[in-house]
Symmetry: C2
Subunit: 343 residues, 2 copies
């Protein structure tokens, strides 16, 4: 991680120029930097949990004005013409090259100087207004930044896979995504159980809104939880055993995985899915409309992320990445971009 100067495109008719205030640190940034999701063009600026102030708008912009607080998540454009885009599922865009990832996506030089998109660990960003989110006024901006990826990555599968009030939700992995899943799941009216390898996070989990806590390394506690859940949200970002968690689901339970694990899972026994008609599904962030809906939901329920704020200093970010990889953060690092990246 080093400081690096680059250019954004000039503000186009439909563009919003955002002075970035805060940028969350997502495990995706680390996956990407380690080339775990394929090699990327360098230099690369990561970061896709972006909140800042609108400092300029293009002539045709109608949704934002200078001074607004705006957010940018994991994509900054898409083809807009495929079936996925038309259905508001731009994250699954099946146009050429798919959605335009906020960073590391090969795109025309005219739109992204250098030929690749550059993310939020930076001072400024220029984004089409249709891929820019309104940040509700009651949310703390620094703590709201992680909603743009971590928040929507819970909210969208909860809606898509039919999580309902009154259901028993299990959250595997109490990190950036997991702690948002506890907050959003509880706000949706679910009884939330957190699974964690040690008792260390119990108090924190209950404080976030969980009503029970299961130490996954305890055979006894795992046994007691068998057949008790309707829905599991698994955000663990590295290969791990799934069978023990699957056993905690009831008939017709849903097991959603969102951790972008590049390796295959090796303990999925078809019989386990068959015996209780369990479904295992994936989910990728959410569409733009749904991301706005999530922000408005969080506004209504006064939900933001629990964060540790750090300066946009290469060594501070490196150290945060190491701690995030070790799971040592409560619960999301956010870079104080504006305060530390002076021109």
């Amino acid at each position: 991680m080093t400081k690096h100067q680059f250019f954004r495109r000039a503000v186009g008719a439909h563009d919003v120029h955002i002075k970035i205030s805060y940028s969350g640190i997502c495990h995706s940034d680390i996956h990407t930097a380690k080339d775990e999701w394929g090699a990327k063009k360098y230099p690369l600026v990561v970061g896709h949990e972006i909140i800042g102030n609108v400092v300029a708008v293009g002539a045709s912009v109608t949704k934002f004005k200078v001074g607004d607080v705006a957010g940018v998540g994991c994509m900054t454009d898409s083809c807009r013409s495929c079936g996925d885009c038309k259905q508001g599922e731009e994250q699954y865009c099946s146009g050429e090259g798919g959605m335009h990832g906020t960073y590391g996506s090969d795109r025309p030089e005219s739109l992204h100087p250098g030929g690749v998109t550059q993310g939020g660990y930076s001072s400024d960003i220029v984004v089409d207004e249709n891929y820019t989110l309104r940040v509700p006024a009651n949310l703390n901006c620094a703590a709201a930044a992680p909603l743009l990826c971590a928040g929507i990555t819970c909210y969208s599968p909860f809606k898509h896979y039919g999580l309902k009030a009154g259901m028993a939700l299990g959250v595997v992995g109490l990190g950036g995504l997991g702690h948002m899943a506890v907050k959003i799941g509880a706000a949706m009216g679910c009884k939330v159980t957190v699974f964690s390898r040690s008792p260390a996070k119990k108090e924190a989990a209950l404080g976030l809104g969980a009503s029970s806590y299961v130490v996954s390394s305890s055979e006894e506690e795992m046994k007691a939880a068998q057949g008790s859940l309707d829905f599991i949200y698994d955000s663990v970002a590295f290969p791990h055993a799934m069978t023990p968690y699957m056993a905690t689901l009831r008939r017709d339970g849903t097991y959603v995985m969102v951790g972008g694990i590049p390796q295959p899972m090796t303990d999925i026994v078809p019989f386990a899915l068959i015996a209780k008609r369990i479904k295992l599904g994936g989910s990728l962030i959410g569409g733009i409309k749904e991301t706005q809906e999530m922000l408005d939901f969080c506004s209504k329920h006064n939900i933001t992320s629990d964060i540790e704020l750090i300066p946009a200093d290469p060594s501070a970010v490196d150290a945060a990445w190491e701690r995030a990889t070790a799971g040592d953060v409560k619960f999301r690092f956010v870079i104080d971009t504006q305060a530390t990246l002076k021109e």
Copy 2:
């Protein structure tokens, strides 16, 4: 496999005594006999695709009379009081010991002399009328026997996971279950694609109602099929690669596994599920009410299984098991029980 004499219980007030005419050979019988699903009490009589004639009814029986054609599938009772049973999902009965499997299920001596249920490779069976199915008159009895397991094992997940007319359905594995999936899927109005390792079964697949055929060992054909399907029905009964089939699904596609594979699958990459929000689900036969609905659906569409009829002779059954294991049957063996098991 040897001949063996045993006794059924006396016909109780709610029981139907069926003289078995035909009994299908299901891969479950082979899994069970090989102890692949856990050790069983011996001697054991397998078989759970049973059709025959009612020869006696208990005093309180209202749904059947002597002379009726009746069927018995994979279960002959369940607790009847758990939530699963009350919802008509007796196959997932969460009462003690679960559903009463038609064979190999430890049950009271009073109901099952010997203390274990015994299946359909036999001359007679006594079953509670509530777990007995009506076989529509227009269906050939021998060819309808496999509907009781193979048929419902397609029909139930098709309904549960939302297969609809107009969808593109892929069938992986053209065996007993797979060929029923083609027939039932086509009758539901789907465009059916069959995947098979060699071109050998192409003509048969098209004859069953498939509209396309993909040789799964051909990289080119698999590539051409990418992103083309809404639903995959995978009935392969041994460990196999799933990633290539998953790639043939569209966004929000459903991949259903019904093969009771005891080993874990080793190539399920979370990213593959995430990138297109694919769900992977299991399914176990179907409830009694749904099994009747399936028989009535098959009656309406004049669907039965394509079968090879064999005598109830130990060596003939052994040979059929070997051929079934090798996938060498078009498409289901059925034992001509009544003609060959004379008293």
